[in-house]
Symmetry: C2
Subunit: 489 residues, 2 copies
C-alpha cells in the first residue's frame, strides 16, 4: 500500500450531501398479516430508510414481523427472492426481515439501499392488533452537487435521457464512484473511466475523480499493477482481481482527468503509475508484438460475454491507452517517453493489422478461430490502426454481419457509440443511443441499468434478474455524448 | 390507571443482574454458503447475543447473509420455521436474518432471546471468501439473585428437579415475573401466583412479587376488575383479557405474599383491590349461588383444554380464593368482612355440593352435560367443600375414571399435586411429580416446559411446536413442592 497516495486520497474524501425524502403517498389503513404496503419515492434514491408505526386494536401482544424490500424498478416488486437460484451471491438482494417488539416504534433500517420503491410486507402480527404507518422517509446521499450541475438544452426525449443518465451518475457518486449502489457498491476502473467522462461535462466534481485515481495508485501491487477494483471498507484495499484492459484504463482515466482539469501536478505525481501499467502490459505480448490469447475467464473484460474472444480487443485497448500515455507524456513534456511509446505503438499497430485485420472482409478477427465480434470491430476502430474511411467500412460490415458476436452491456454499447462518433458518424451514433438507452427509458427507467437487451428486457447473465443492478455507472454516458458532442435528433 | 399503585410498583423496578456467558465451544473452520454453526451454551439463558466474525480468502466482495436462530431445546434446531402453519403469531419464532456488509464485524443481535442453542446458518457468502467465527457470547439477565438462593438437599434426581425448576423460575424473573421469556414475555396473574410460591422458598425476592401485585392493582379497570395479564412496554397497561379465575387469583397471590413476607402494610394497601375481585365475581352467580356457565372461550382459564367445561372449576376457584380473602381479613383484623365472607362461602359451598357433586359416583361433574374432568375434581378438592376422606375418594375415583377429561398444562398438574398433598397423599404427590416433571427431565429439559404430555412429547395446542415455550413459569413448582413439603422418594 502506497501510504503517500492513500493519504492524498483520504484527504479529499467527500462529505456526502444528505437529503430527507418521502414517498409520494403514505397509505392509510390498518395492516394485518399478509398485507403489503407499497411506498413509491417517485425517483431512484440511495440512502437509509426509516419509518414510524403504531398498533391499532388491542395492546400489541406479540412482536410484529415485517419483511422490508427495496426495489429499484417496478418489476422487482413481484419477484420472489425465496426462489432465487442465480449464481451471484443472494446476499445482494435488498430484503430484510425485522421484528418490532414494542409499538409505537420508530424503525431505522440498518443498511444503505438503492431504491425507488419500498415494500413492507406484514409477515405476522397477532389477531389482536393491526399496524398503521405514521411516517416513512429516507435519508438519501450523494457526493454530487445538484446545485452546480451545468444546464443542458435539447428536445424532450434528449432532456429526459440526460436526466436519467445523470441520475444514474449522481446516485453512483458516493464516497467513491461506485459501479452500482445496489451491487457491487464499489470502485471499478472501467466504470470510473466512463463516470469521470460524464462527470466532467455535468457535475464537474474533479476532486472525486482525483480521489479515486489516488486510491487506485495506492493499491497497486508490489509490481505496480493496478487491480480491476478496490474496496474502501473497513480499510482501503485492492481486490485480487486483475484484468488486462482495466489496469490499462488507469492511463486513459488519468489522461482524461488531466485534459479536463488541467491539474498537471496530479498527473505528474501519478504518471509513473500510469506508465507502469503500459510496461506491465507489454509482458503479455509475444515476439511478434501480438498479445497472448488466454482461456482464463476474465483475463480481459471488454464486455460481459462468455462467448467473446478477447485477443484482438486486448491489443486494441493497449493501443488506445498507449496513445493516451503518449498524450500525457506530451502534456508533461517527457520527450524520451514520447519517442519510446510511439516506437512501440507503431510495432503493435502493424502487428494488429497483420494478425487481426482481414483485408478481404474488411473486418477484425480475434483468436485462433478468427471470431468476428462487435467488441473487436469497435475497439479496432477506437485503436486508430486504420484510416477513417476504412474504419467506417469496418463498422458498416459489422452491422451487416449476422454472425458477429453481439454486445451485452451498456459499457460495450458506449464504446460503440464512441467509435461511431470518432469516425464522424454522429447521426448513426445519435440514432443508436436513442435506440439502446431509449429502450430503457421506454421500460420506465429512472436510472440506466447494468444490463439491457432491447430484444429481451428481462435478460440477466446471473441466472435471475433479482440481483440485476438498475442504476449502474457504466450506463450513464448518454449525458456525456449529448453534452460533449452536442448530438441532436 | 391508579397512579399511586403504579408509582409504588415503579419505585421497586429491579435492576437486572447481567452476566456474560459463552458457548461450551466456539467451533473452528471456514464457513461457506449452506454451512451451519451450532453453538451450545450448556444451559438455558435469557439475554442478548453477540458475535465476532472475519472473512478468510479474498476480500469480502458481497455482504454475508446469515440466519440466526435461537433454540431453547435441541429439537428446535431441526425445525423449519418456513413451514410454520400454526395459529399463534409466527413473530414469536426466534429467528433473524441479518446482512453483514463489512468484515470483520462485531454483531450485536437486536433483541432479547431465550435459548440454550444459537444456530448461525450461512445463508449466503460469495465464492471469494468464507466466514470464521472469532467469538460468540451472550449478556444474560435475571432479577433473581443466585447468591441468596437457599440450599436444598435431596437425592440426585430431586436435586436435579429442583435445579431445573429454579432455572425455569430464575429465567422468567426479569423486570416482572414473566410467563415465559420466549413467549409471551409478560406478566400473567395465574403464572405469577405459582412463581411467587416457588420464589418464597428459594430466591426470596419479595420485592418482585410486591411490584407485580402493585402493577396489577394499578391496571384494574373502572369497575376495579383486574385483567388476566398486563404489559410493561412501552408503558404499563392492562390487557383487555379478563378471566374469572385469574382475577380471583389476585386474592390468593396477595394472601400468599402477606403470609410469606409478613408485610401487612402492603397487604392492607391492596386489600380493597383484592376484596373487589371477590365482589365482582359474585355477579357471575345465579340466585342459587351457582356460577353461570359460559360458551365464551377463555371466560375462565383452569387449563389449556378446549374440551374442558369450566363451570364447576370456576365455582371451586371462587371458594378457594374466598377462603384466602377471609384469611387476609383475619390477618388485617377486619371482623365484619370475616363474617360476611364466611356467610357467603357457606352458601356457595352448599350450592357446589348440590349442583356439582355426584354422591353416587363420588365425583364432581360440571356443566349441563355433567362432564367429569381432572380439573373439576382437583379444584373441588382444593375448595375444601368435602371432608378429607371424601376428597381422597374423589381423587381415587378420578384416577380410575377412563373418560375423565385430562389435564394438559403443567399449571393444572401443579394443582393436582397440590390437591394430593392437601389430602395427605404426599407419596402419590411425589410419585406423580416425578412422573410428570421427571418426564421432561428425561426429555433433556434444562427448564420446564409450557406444555408437556408424557405420552406425546411433541404435542402442541398451537398447531406446531415451533412456537412452544420451553421455559415457562407455571412449570417451576416442583421446587416449591420439594422445598415446602420436604417431599422425598
Amino acid at each position: 500500500m502506497n501510504q503517500y497516495f492513500l493519504e492524498k486520497a483520504q484527504a479529499i474524501k467527500p462529505v456526502l450531501n444528505e437529503d430527507v425524502v418521502r414517498p409520494v403517498r403514505i397509505p392509510d389503513g390498518i395492516y394485518c398479516t399478509g398485507d403489503r404496503i407499497v411506498l413509491d419515492f417517485g425517483n431512484h434514491f440511495v440512502g437509509r430508510f426509516f419509518f414510524r408505526v403504531h398498533g391499532e386494536g388491542s395492546h400489541q401482544d406479540a412482536p410484529a414481523l415485517l419483511k422490508v424490500k427495496f426495489c429499484e424498478v417496478k418489476k422487482e416488486i413481484e419477484e420472489d427472492s425465496s426462489r432465487y437460484q442465480g449464481w451471484i451471491c443472494a446476499s445482494w438482494i435488498q430484503e430484510e426481515r425485522i421484528h418490532v417488539d414494542v409499538l409505537p416504534a420508530e424503525v431505522a433500517m440498518p443498511r444503505r439501499y438503492a431504491f425507488r420503491y419500498v415494500i413492507i410486507d406484514i409477515a405476522a402480527v397477532s389477531d389482536k392488533y393491526g399496524l398503521v404507518l405514521d411516517d416513512a422517509y429516507a435519508k438519501v446521499t450523494t457526493s454530487a452537487e445538484d446545485a452546480v450541475l451545468t444546464a443542458y438544452q435539447g428536445n424532450a426525449k434528449e432532456m429526459r435521457m440526460d436526466e436519467v443518465a445523470l441520475r444514474t451518475l449522481r446516485n453512483c457518486m458516493q464516497d467513491v464512484f461506485e459501479d452500482g449502489p445496489k451491487r457491487d457498491r464499489r470502485l471499478w476502473l472501467g466504470d470510473l473511466r466512463l463516470e469521470a467522462l460524464t462527470n466532467y461535462v455535468s457535475y464537474g466534481n474533479y476532486s472525486l475523480v482525483k480521489r479515486c485515481l489516488y486510491l487506485f495508485a495506492a493499491v497497486a501491487d508490489e509490481e505496480g499493477r493496478i487491480p480491476a477494483c478496490l474496496f474502501t471498507e473497513p480499510e482501503v484495499c485492492g481486490d485480487d482481481t486483475y484484468m488486462f484492459d482495466y489496469s490499462l484504463f488507469f492511463i486513459a482515466a488519468l489522461y482524461d482527468y488531466a485534459a479536463a482539469s488541467k491539474d498537471l501536478e496530479m498527473a505528474r505525481e501519478l504518471y509513473k503509475t500510469a506508465r507502469r501499467q503500459w510496461e506491465l502490459a507489454q509482458e503479455n505480448f509475444d515476439e511478434n508484438h501480438v498479445v497472448h490469447d488466454s482461456d482464463v475467464l476474465g483475463w480481459c473484460f471488454l464486455d460481459w460475454n462468455l462467448e467473446l474472444n478477447k485477443q484482438a480487443g486486448a491489443q486494441f485497448v493497449y493501443l488506445y491507452c498507449a496513445k493516451r500515455l503518449c498524450l500525457l507524456a506530451e502534456l508533461l513534456e517527457i520527450p524520451e517517453d514520447i519517442t519510446e511509446i510511439k516506437r512501440d505503438m507503431a510495432l503493435k499497430k502493424q502487428a494488429a493489422l497483420d494478425y487481426f485485420y482481414d483485408r478481404e472482409k474488411e473486418l477484425f478477427v480475434s483468436g485462433s478461430k478468427k471470431q468476428i465480434s462487435y467488441a473487436s470491430q469497435v475497439w479496432g476502430v477506437l485503436s486508430e490502426c486504420l484510416e477513417k474511411e476504412e474504419n467506417i467500412r469496418v463498422l458498416e460490415h459489422m452491422r451487416r454481419c449476422k454472425d458477429a458476436v453481439e454486445m451485452v452491456t451498456p459499457y460495450m454499447n458506449h464504446c460503440y457509440v464512441e467509435a461511431l462518433i470518432q469516425v464522424g458518424m454522429e447521426k448513426e451514433a445519435y440514432a443508436y443511443m436513442m435506440h439502446y438507452w431509449g429502450g430503457m427509458m421506454e421500460d420506465g427507467a429512472d436510472t440506466f441499468y447494468e444490463l439491457f437487451n432491447p430484444g429481451n428486457p428481462s435478460e440477466s447473465p446471473y441466472g435471475s434478474c433479482i440481483v440485476n443492478s438498475y442504476c449502474h455507472a457504466w450506463s450513464c454516458t448518454p449525458a456525456y455524448f449529448l453534452r460533449k458532442y452536442n448530438l441532436h435528433g
